[in-house]
C-alpha cells in the first residue's frame, strides 16, 4: 500500500547520526572460582586427558551461587566504560545478550543500567545465545549511526553453571560462567564492518533447553514421583560441530569481503569459544593464514556462550596478543541456530 503524508501536516524530525561507529572500550569478568577437569569428573565418567583432547578445555570458572548475571555484567561493564573514557550517564542504551538470566521478566538490562548509575537509558535483553554479543555489536553500530543512541553498552553474559547438567558426559565439561562488555559509540573512521548474520531455525533442537518452563510446571504438578527435571541445556555435539565448521564457516569470508579486507589484513581471529576442536577445524577449513593470532581463551574459561567473544578479545588485548587499533574478525554462532560475523577495529 502506498502512503503519502497527509497534506498540511508537519514533516517529522528525525535524527542524523554520525557516519561511523566503533568499539571504544572492552571489559571482561571471570568469576573467582576455578573449576578443574578433575572436579567435573566427580560427576561424569571421564578424565582430564579425555576432556582436554575432546575440547581443549583445562579449566573453567563458575560463579558463586549468589552471584548473578547482573553482578558479573556490572564488573565487565565498569572496565569497558573506564577504557572508553566516558561516564555512565553518557550511555543511552544498555543491551544485554544472555540466555541464562533466570527471570522470564523483567529483563536484566534495566537492572544493570540502574546499578551502573546511568541516567535511565533504553535497556533490553536479546536472546541470540553464543552469537548474542556479535548480534549486539551489530545492533549498537546501527543505533549509533542512525542517531538513536550516542553510546551503547553491549554486554554478553552467562551463568551457564545454572543450566548445565553436571551428570551429562556430553556437555558437563564444556560450559563456564563469565561476562564481557563493550562500549560502542561515534567514531571518525569506520570501526565496525558490516555484519553477516542469519539463522537456521530448522535445526532449533541442536542446542536447546531440554523442556520449556511450562513443561517443568507440568512435571511439578504430576503425581509421578521424581518426575521433576530441571530444564538443563542439551547439545548434539556432532551436529553442531559439522554445522559450525562446514555449513556456516563461509560466513567468515563473507564478513571479510563485506568489510573490504582480506584475512591477511587481520590482527586477530576471535571465534566464539565453543570448543577448541571447532576452532582448529574451522581455521583449517577456511584457510586462515597461520600467522594470524587466534583466540584460545576456552582453555582457561570454557565455553561462556554470549560472553566468550568479548572475554577472548579483551584477553588478547590485555596480553598483547592483538594490538589496540588492530583489525579483529569476530564470529559468534550457536543455539537457534544463529550466527553473526563482523570485522571490528579493536579499541
Amino acid at each position: 500500500m502506498t502512503v503519502q503524508p497527509k497534506p498540511d501536516q508537519p514533516t517529522l524530525t528525525v535524527p542524523e547520526g554520525p557516519r561511523h561507529a566503533r568499539i571504544h572500550g572492552l571489559g571482561g569478568y571471570r568469576p573467582e572460582r576455578v573449576v578443574t577437569n578433575e572436579e567435573i569428573c566427580r560427576y561424569i565418567d571421564s578424565s582430564d586427558e579425555w576432556i582436554q583432547q575432546r575440547s581443549g578445555i583445562k579449566e573453567r570458572r563458575f560463579a558463586r551461587e549468589d552471584e548473578t548475571v547482573i553482578d558479573m555484567s556490572e564488573a565487565a561493564a565498569r572496565d569497558a566504560i573506564a577504557m572508553a573514557g566516558i561516564t555512565p550517564d553518557q550511555i543511552s542504551v544498555v543491551l544485554m545478550a544472555t540466555v541464562t538470566h533466570p527471570y522470564q521478566t523483567p529483563a536484566a538490562a534495566p537492572i544493570l543500567a540502574e546499578r551502573l548509575g546511568t541516567n535511565g537509558p533504553a535497556a533490553f535483553d536479546i536472546s541470540a545465545a553464543c552469537a548474542g554479543y556479535c548480534y549486539g555489536i551489530s545492533l549498537a553500530n546501527d543505533m549509533v549511526r542512525a542517531g538513536s543512541a550516542e553510546y551503547v553498552l553491549v554486554v554478553g553474559v552467562e551463568k551457564l553453571s545454572d543450566f548445565t547438567d553436571k551428570h551429562d558426559r556430553g556437555s558437563a565439561f564444556i560450559f563456564g560462567d563469565g561476562a564481557g562488555a563493550a562500549v560502542v559509540g561515534p567514531s571518525d573512521f569506520p570501526g565496525i564492518g558490516p555484519t553477516v548474520w542469519g539463522s537456521d531455525g530448522e535445526n532449533w533442537d541442536k542446542i536447546m533447553q531440554k523442556q520449556p518452563w511450562t513443561g517443568l510446571r507440568a512435571d511439578m504438578t504430576s503425581e509421578e514421583a521424581g518426575a521433576v527435571e530441571w530444564p538443563h541445556f542439551a547439545m548434539q555435539g556432532q551436529s553442531v560441530f559439522r554445522w559450525a565448521v562446514y555449513t556456516i564457516a563461509p560466513v567468515v569470508d563473507k564478513a571479510l569481503a563485506a568489510a573490504g579486507v582480506t584475512s591477511d589484513d587481520l590482527d586477530a581471529f576471535v571465534p566464539h569459544q565453543a570448543n577448541m576442536r571447532i576452532t582448529d577445524a574451522m581455521i583449517k577449513h577456511i584457510g586462515l593464514p597461520e600467522d594470524i593470532p587466534v583466540a584460545r581463551d576456552i582453555a582457561e574459561t570454557g565455553n561462556t556462550s554470549a560472553a566468550s567473544v568479548p572475554l577472548a578479545a579483551a584477553r588478547m588485548l590485555n596480553e598483547g596478543e592483538a594490538p589496540h587499533g588492530g583489525l579483529a574478525l569476530q564470529f559468534g554462532f550457536g543455539a537457534g541456530l544463529v550466527y553473526a560475523a563482523q570485522v571490528v577495529v579493536l579499541p
Binding site: 583432547q53 575432546r54 548434539q236 555435539g237 556432532q238 551436529s239 560441530f241 559439522r242 565448521v245 562446514y246 570448543n275 576442536r277 577445524a281
Partner: protein, 82 residues
C-alpha cells in the same frame, strides 16, 4: 561414475589419513573407527564431510552413528552412489 568398493575404501583411507594422520594402510574394512582407529565423534564428522565431497553423496547426521566400522561407511557410500 560410481566407484567400486576398493576405490571407495582407498578414498576413505586417504581422507582418514589427511584428517587424523592415521596410516592409510590401517583403514581396513573390519576396523572400528572408534575402537581400532581411535577416531572420536568429532574427527568422524571431519571424515564424513570430506567423504561427502569426495564421493558426491549425502551422509545425514543421524546416519553417522550407524557407521561404526569402515565397512559400514564403504557400504553406505556404495549404496548412496546408486
Amino acid at each position: 561414475m560410481a566407484m567400486n568398493e576398493q576405490e571407495i575404501l582407498a578414498g576413505l583411507a586417504e581422507i582418514v589419513n589427511e584428517e587424523t594422520g592415521i596410516e592409510a594402510d590401517a583403514v581396513q574394512m573390519d576396523k572400528s573407527f572408534q575402537e581400532d582407529l581411535d577416531i572420536d565423534s568429532l574427527s568422524m564428522m571431519q571424515v564424513v564431510v570430506n567423504a561427502e565431497d569426495k564421493f558426491g553423496v549425502r551422509i545425514p547426521d543421524d546416519e553417522v552413528k550407524n557407521l561404526t566400522h569402515v565397512k559400514d561407511a564403504v557400504n553406505f557410500i556404495t549404496n548412496a552412489q546408486g
